[in-house]
Amino acid sequence: MRNTFAETLYKCAIKNKDIYVVAADISPAGSMEIFRKKYPNRFINVGVAEQVMIGVSAGLAMRKKRPFAYTIATFALYRPFEMIRDDLCYQNLPVTIVGMGGGTIYSTLGGTHLTQEDISIARSIPNMNIIAPCDPNELREAVNYLAFKSTGPTYLRIGKSGEKNFTDEKTEKWEFGKIRKVAEGKDICILTFGPIIKIAFQLREHLRKNGNKLAIFSFHTLKPINYGQLKKIMKDFSKIVVIEDHSEIGGLSSIIKSYASENKYKGKIQNFSLKDKFFHKYGSQDDLLELHGISFNQIAKNKIFN
């Protein structure tokens, strides 16, 4: 995804001269290196200094520029939190904070590099928008939107590398703020965001053998929420499954459950979210997700699918 991000942003930057990358010592691999070479004045490396990364981005946006503050998700959002709150959100500036490798992606690097609660934190700040694309194709749409149209601060949570595409030109059109149906189905639907959508497709394939069809929605915009669409989803489906590479506190499952409760949803909701816990464990991303109870095998056994 980071290559798709860099490649797309580079293409946008050719057309839009106001686009800047403000990076905090992140290696400019692939297309980001092309951006840097082609537009050295619009690629600012602030070094290992995330607070000033946000300050500089704010200053640029105050002068009508369109900066993308770019580094690993934990450092992009947590370290400079107050700068994001005051400089970007309070001043409502069109800056995109790109959190690379969100969730449990950096599975071998330990808890300091995991982003378990980023959506929850970002959601609580007024004016903040949040986009978490499910695959490189969706990311391309999101970057185009952020490069030309967005009006306020956005936290863009992306994966790292090797993510497969689950959407294509036949899928419903991507639109900011829309809950996007990426697979048709009835009775049961899966709501998810980010590359963990791959588990939803595994489940769909598995259940298809029994004649069941699972609908899958990419909840790529986590703020603002399209509640009208959510209402319709709750009307159309009697079972909702939420799968997220994010804490059970304040993420998509919290959004769905609180809305369901306020609107007296009669159906069943089952969520698979990261536990409110630091594990101090390593391995593959799948290994970490399994500790949190989020693997295809663990989810497929859940009685909600009976």
Partner: protein, 263 residues
């Protein structure tokens, strides 16, 4: 002719300080001490050295001196009397800290250590113009790590259009800066070693401050350490931490006005 400029500045600074005291009789949420310490610096920026375009780039990093910026903006007819008198009131829009979108205010500050990072971003955007970016920081802000991130970055990016003033009044909410952080000094040497042009100067002497700005090197950003006195020139306010927040009562008010008038 030149000396007239500075006589005028002296007169204006009296007006600004008296106006702040006048407002202090209506609302209590004022930072008199920290506004009085940088009055000459702010007058220099707003009324002597900056162009209209540059005033629209100014960042008051020590946001708690906003009452001083408002009085200057009132003097310049950017904000009106009624709006200033609604300061901190339900129907007003001017608060204790500057807020973006208000007339003449370019950045929302208040939390210390944010201003210089934004200044760096503005300076990058303004690189192709002739504009200088001015900012006023407090000496207390030099305890924020984020300030040093920006101090290191600005010369590295050759943002030679940045001119900042450190209001070095040596007094914070709790104690003297020189007592809590004795190794901060000499401040100008620290800026120099980070790639800035830097000087120490009497923060209440507009003429000297002016000369330093005029002699700025073209190939470096400039940081002026303005040696100032919190509460200056009111005898009972100077060096007293209580005047960081406190508003004078009626007797104190009269005494303060007469001391300023007699200068």
């Amino acid at each position: 002719m030149k000396s007239n400029i500075f006589l005028e500045s002296k007169k204006r600074c009296k007006i600004f300080r008296k106006r702040i005291l006048e407002l202090s009789q209506k609302v209590s949420a004022l930072h008199v001490g920290g506004s009085f310490s940088c009055t000459e610096v702010m007058d220099l920026i707003f009324n002597i050295i900056s162009t209209n375009a540059e005033r629209n780039l100014f960042v008051l990093s020590k946001g708690h001196a906003s009452i001083l910026q408002y009085t200057i903006l009132e003097y310049l007819n950017v904000i009106n009397k009624k709006d200033l008198e609604n300061y901190c009131k339900k129907d007003g829009f001017l608060g204790v800290h500057p807020d973006i979108g208000n007339p003449g205010i370019n950045a929302s500050t208040g939390s210390l250590g944010h201003g210089l990072g934004m200044v760096a971003g503005i300076a990058i955007a303004e690189k192709k113009t002739k504009n200088n970016i001015y900012s006023v920081l407090s000496d207390g802000e030099l305890q924020e790590g984020s300030t040093w991130e920006a101090i290191m970055l600005i010369p590295a990016l050759k943002l030679n259009n940045v001119i900042i003033f450190i209001d070095n009044n040596n007094l914070q909410s709790l104690e003297k800066t020189s007592e809590s952080h004795p190794n901060l000094y000499p401040i100008e040497k620290k800026f120099e070693s980070f790639g800035w042009q830097s000087f120490k100067c009497d923060g209440h002497n507009t003429e000297k401050l002016y000369k330093l700005v005029k002699n700025k090197k073209k190939d470096k950003p400039l940081a002026i350490i303005a040696e100032s006195i919190k509460g200056y020139p009111v005898s009972f306010m100077m060096h007293e931490p209580i005047w960081h927040y406190k508003s004078p009562d009626k007797i104190e008010y009269k005494k303060a006005i007469s001391e300023i008038d007699s200068l």
